[in-house]
């Protein structure tokens, strides 16, 4: 019997390693797997590359990872936030490399990795600083930039509910990057608010089929994030 549910956050992140590339779901705090990120801090892995839409705010989540000095590089679209002081400080001190990617190219590159494409021509960013040095091409009279997949060793994802085969559903706008990151990482680890029996999720409404999930763990405090 296959049961992808593990009992502890520690077990969930046991295979992490120094130098890993880690995708982290979330748009701001919505959908950010805070407990799994705390488990990464507890695990001790360092020299990490983080792929996420933002670069953390306040004192928890990605911000805590930065504060702990574990991150070598951030690939994201929007690091500047109201309380992104830990990112700001590390970036200004040159302790952190930033690869800034337009949000839709971030999504497209993650999707390219998940679906086995070698590269995609995207119109986004053409003629801007963020496409400098990149290959461009005129296709049917429109200009495109060649963008490559972003692969990751791990994806840390927050979902609302999951079953032992790894099928997932999400909650409202906390869905955001979760489903496409789950497809793109070698190993996807999910914190859920609820583990449900096989068959409890409507097969028409499963958002992430279990094939994309390696481990699930119940996050008892997987509540809505508090007001920022």
């Amino acid at each position: 019997m296959i049961d992808k549910v593990v009992s502890t956050m520690e077990q969930a992140v046991a295979e992490l390693h120094d130098g890993a590339a880690i995708m982290i779901s979330g748009f701001g705090d919505a959908g950010s797997p805070h407990e799994l990120i705390q488990a990464v801090i507890d695990h001790g892995a360092t020299d990490l590359t983080i792929i996420s839409n933002n670069a953390g705010s306040g004192e928890t989540g990605i911000a805590a990872l930065i504060k702990a000095g574990r991150i070598r590089k951030v690939i994201c679209s929007f690091p500047r936030m109201a309380a992104s002081h830990h990112f700001d400080a590390a970036y200004r001190a040159g302790k952190l490399e930033l690869e800034l990617v337009p949000q839709g190219n971030l999504a497209a590159r993650i999707q390219a990795a998940g679906s086995g494409l070698g590269a995609v021509f995207t119109p986004t960013g053409y003629g801007t600083q963020l496409a400098e040095g990149k290959e461009t091409r005129d296709i049917d009279g429109r200009m495109y930039v060649l963008e490559y997949p972003i692969h990751a060793d791990f994806a840390l994802v927050k979902a609302r509910a999951g079953d032992r085969w790894g099928n997932l559903v999400y909650r409202k706008a906390a869905r955001n990057f979760g489903p496409i990151m789950a497809m793109a990482a070698k190993s996807t680890i999910v914190q859920v608010s609820e583990v449900v029996p096989l068959g409890a999720l409507d097969p028409e409404a499963v958002v992430t089929p279990g094939v994309f999930v390696k481990k699930l763990v119940l996050a008892s405090s997987n509540a809505q994030p508090a007001a920022a």
Binding site: F27, P79, M81, N105, M143, N176
Partner: protein
């Protein structure tokens, strides 16, 4: 010059007037979110938010805030009856794929041919952040910019050529400002509408451009 200027709410109201029933609309973070307040409730207009919402509704009551239901600016919102959720891949398929009729964004500068600069001041110590602006710039069928025509220091933001880092090339079609509405594009900038009390000469003086009155293209 000491002319009458529209405040941000008045500009938002003016933008809202040009959004037809049935339009799929993305309102950028900051100023453009005000437009939602002026969309008539009896018109079905579909607000899309890059973080995976279609049919976005107004801010919730204090007691009904759900931090899993936010807009692109990370403020709490609601979902209208008939709205739905989707992931970031599908969201940017909407935005990049030409499925959004109108997006409204703020800007540091817009050039007469429609180049947009709104993501980076270019200051060397600034922390850059781009979000979905570049995707909307190339992907929305019409890009409306909503801004005061001048900076606080009095520099005109409608320019011959942008000096700030670009967000997208030749993408803006319309500027809604505190002094009037402009069209920009291949034919250059034209004045579509002036705020009461302004003359074409006023606008020429502010912009330093040989503006003409234009009709809708």
């Amino acid at each position: 010059m000491n002319m009458q200027r529209l405040d941000r709410n008045a500009i938002a109201r003016r933008v809202a007037r040009d959004i037809p029933e049935g339009a799929y609309v993305n309102l950028g973070i900051g100023l453009p979110t005000l437009v939602a307040n002026y969309l008539p409730a009896d018109r079905d207009i579909f607000l899309q938010s890059e973080n995976g919402l279609l049919g976005m509704g107004p801010a919730p009551d204090e007691g009904n805030i759900d931090w899993d239901l936010i807009n692109a600016g990370k403020q709490p919102v609601t979902l209208l009856t008939g709205g739905c959720y989707f992931h970031h891949g599908d969201s940017f398929t909407m935005m990049r794929g030409g499925h959004i009729d109108i997006c409204v964004m703020g800007a540091f500068q817009v050039s007469v041919n429609g180049d947009l600069a709104n993501w980076h001041t270019g200051a060397p110590d600034a922390i850059p952040a781009v979000g979905g602006a570049m995707d909307l710039a190339v992907g929305a069928r019409q890009v409306f910019v909503m801004m005061d025509l001048q900076t606080k220091a009095g520099e005109c933001k409608l320019v011959r050529a942008c000096t700030y880092p670009l967000t997208g090339l030749a993408c803006v079609s319309r500027i809604y400002s505190d002094v009037g509405v402009f069209s920009v594009g291949p034919d250059g900038a034209r004045v579509i509408e002036m705020v009461e009390g302004h003359s074409l000469d006023d606008l020429r003086a502010i912009t330093g451009l040989e503006l003409e009155i234009g009709s809708e293209r």
